[in-house]
Amino acid sequence: MAGLAGLVGLVGLVLVGPALAPNDPSEIRFSQRLIEPGAVFPLGTDHLGRCVLSRLLHGLQVTPVAAVTVVALSAGIGSAIGLAAGYTGGWLDRLAMRITDGILIFPAVAMAMVVASLIGIGLTGTIVSLAVVHWAEYARLVRTMILAERAKPYELAARALGAGPIRILVIHLLPNILSAVVVLATVSLAWAILSFSGLSFLGLGAEPGAAEWGRMIADGRTHMRTHPHLVIVPGLAIALFVLAVNLLGDVSASRQGYASPRAKRPPSRKSRKKE
């Protein structure tokens, strides 16, 4: 329940956030540049006189949305490949798994940078690049799940009853796999937000002028010595958002019984008393 509430809260924040902005996020006010936080501009203005708070709130629909796109692309492509590989087996499976193993070895963000240098630096290029290096995680997960599920008796029963492969896949296997994919998705959403804002910080992600958090930090650097809040505030936004996503991920993972070490027992209570 807490997970659902959290999810609704986050999505709500992303949807409503920009509407709460007190000012136009991209309006340049030369006469009011670099002013300290106050009534009109609650978090002050940046080097071009743009309202920092408004940019932060509008940024809710840049970085997180880009990250969700990355995750959706990776999950879609990766799951499809994992499904195909796991279900058909044979040489296709081996080939697909060699490729995913290969991709998973490499540092993803560095490789995404290389891909971005080819397909073009910018919002779309960076999103696609991150997906290109990230789908393998999903392919491997889904393939492993499929193999595990196929070994279970109900699949055999369904097959014996004459259900076609598509039917088995859709009705029997997918629901089980889906929940695992959702857990991985929250983990990779946090990763995608950090990676995307990092790449934007390096000048590869969002377009200049975009109210993107990583980009705001990069822009704030030139006036960091005199106006440190231009760097501090957007970073805080990234950190809080990722934190929220991570906590959400922990909640959903433990609800579904994945990776929940809390349930395990420590060395016996008795021995603790001894000390």
Partner: protein, 312 residues
């Protein structure tokens, strides 16, 4: 054992081959006439005429068939000749070697801090699960994982270098320069490692032999350090081995923030400056190191735990 090892080696070799093809094709996947683009870069914005362009293509062998270009390129690469940087005209191999030392320093220091800090937090948390220490350690880990490392780096510069004046802002060459970037990388790793260590340890605590040891009346610290930790080492080494490859992602950003002259910054500079021979070199180097690290981690796991020798 031998079969498993040779299969691993074969996979690694295939991966390296695929890596070389990818790295080579980087130039040729560019839209448009890449030779012309590269020449424009080199001429600092002036536009070359056709004769200059033809001469450039001929000297760099860009007028030959693709497979031939690949075989020449690969042969040279294997001999350590990765061509010349388009920006500095220095041999790419030389550039990479120079930068590799800096990155190795930073990565090693960062990893050491990360492992020490992460293992410390992880063990502390696992020993008393559900306790205040556990909650605090895991809370710290979750927060640590959520912080963008480039931002932490900038804040560290603002606080420790500008405000307090304790450490140099950025740069390379002195031990003092290493402190901030290594701590930033270390703390960003520590969160993940702490969670891994805790999970692995708790897994072991649930195992039969721990209960047996407890039942036999072994002291708690003996149970933890003599039984649980060594057994948890296998998954920890495997998982931390994976982190070593991913470590480079953090290095890229941190090197840029701290003006650290390593491979990561070189990659950023060459991507932004479209210096493709250097990008090729970086891909080969980073990829090669990743493949080898994964191989070593696998071998380590095999060596530590004979049970899974056949299974890996």
């Amino acid at each position: 054992m031998v079969i498993a090892l040779s299969r691993r080696l074969l996979h690694a070799a295939l991966l390296l081959l695929a890596l070389s093809v990818f790295s080579f094709s980087l130039l040729h996947l560019l839209p448009g006439d890449f030779a012309e683009l590269l020449l424009i870069e080199q001429m600092d914005g002036d536009l070359p005429d056709q004769a200059t362009l033809d001469r450039f293509k001929a000297t760099h062998g860009f007028d030959q068939p693709l497979w031939q270009q690949y075989s020449i390129w690969l042969e040279r690469a294997l001999l350590g000749n990765l061509g010349l940087s388009f920006r500095t005209e220095d041999p790419v191999a030389e550039e990479l070697t120079l930068r590799l030392a800096a990155t190795a320093q930073l990565a090693a220091a960062g990893l050491a801090i990360g492992v020490l800090l992460g293992a410390g937090l992880g063990v502390a948390a696992a020993v008393r699960p559900g306790s205040l220490v556990d909650h605090a350690a895991m809370g710290l880990a979750v927060v640590g994982m959520a912080l963008p490392n480039f931002w932490v780096g900038l804040l560290a510069i603002l606080f420790f270098s500008v405000t307090l004046g304790w450490l140099p802002v950025a740069g390379y060459g002195h031990l003092a320069n290493l402190v901030l970037p290594a701590v930033v990388i270390g703390t960003s790793l520590a969160g993940v490692i702490a969670r891994l260590v805790r999970a692995c340890l708790l897994e072991e605590f649930g195992a039969d032999y721990v209960r047996t040891a407890n039942a036999k009346g072994a002291s708690r610290s003996r149970v933890i350090w003599r039984h649980a930790v060594p057994n948890a080492l296998v998954p920890m080494v495997a998982l931390i081995g994976l982190q070593v490859c991913k470590l480079f992602d953090g290095v890229v950003v941190v090197e840029t923030v701290f003006a650290w002259p390593g491979i990561g910054r070189l990659l950023v500079e060459s991507v932004l400056g479209r210096d493709f021979p250097v990008i090729q070199g970086c891909v080969l180097l980073i990829g090669g190191i990743s493949v080898l690290t994964a191989l070593v981690a696998d071998c380590l796991v095999m060596a530590i735990d004979p049970r899974i020798r056949g299974a890996v």
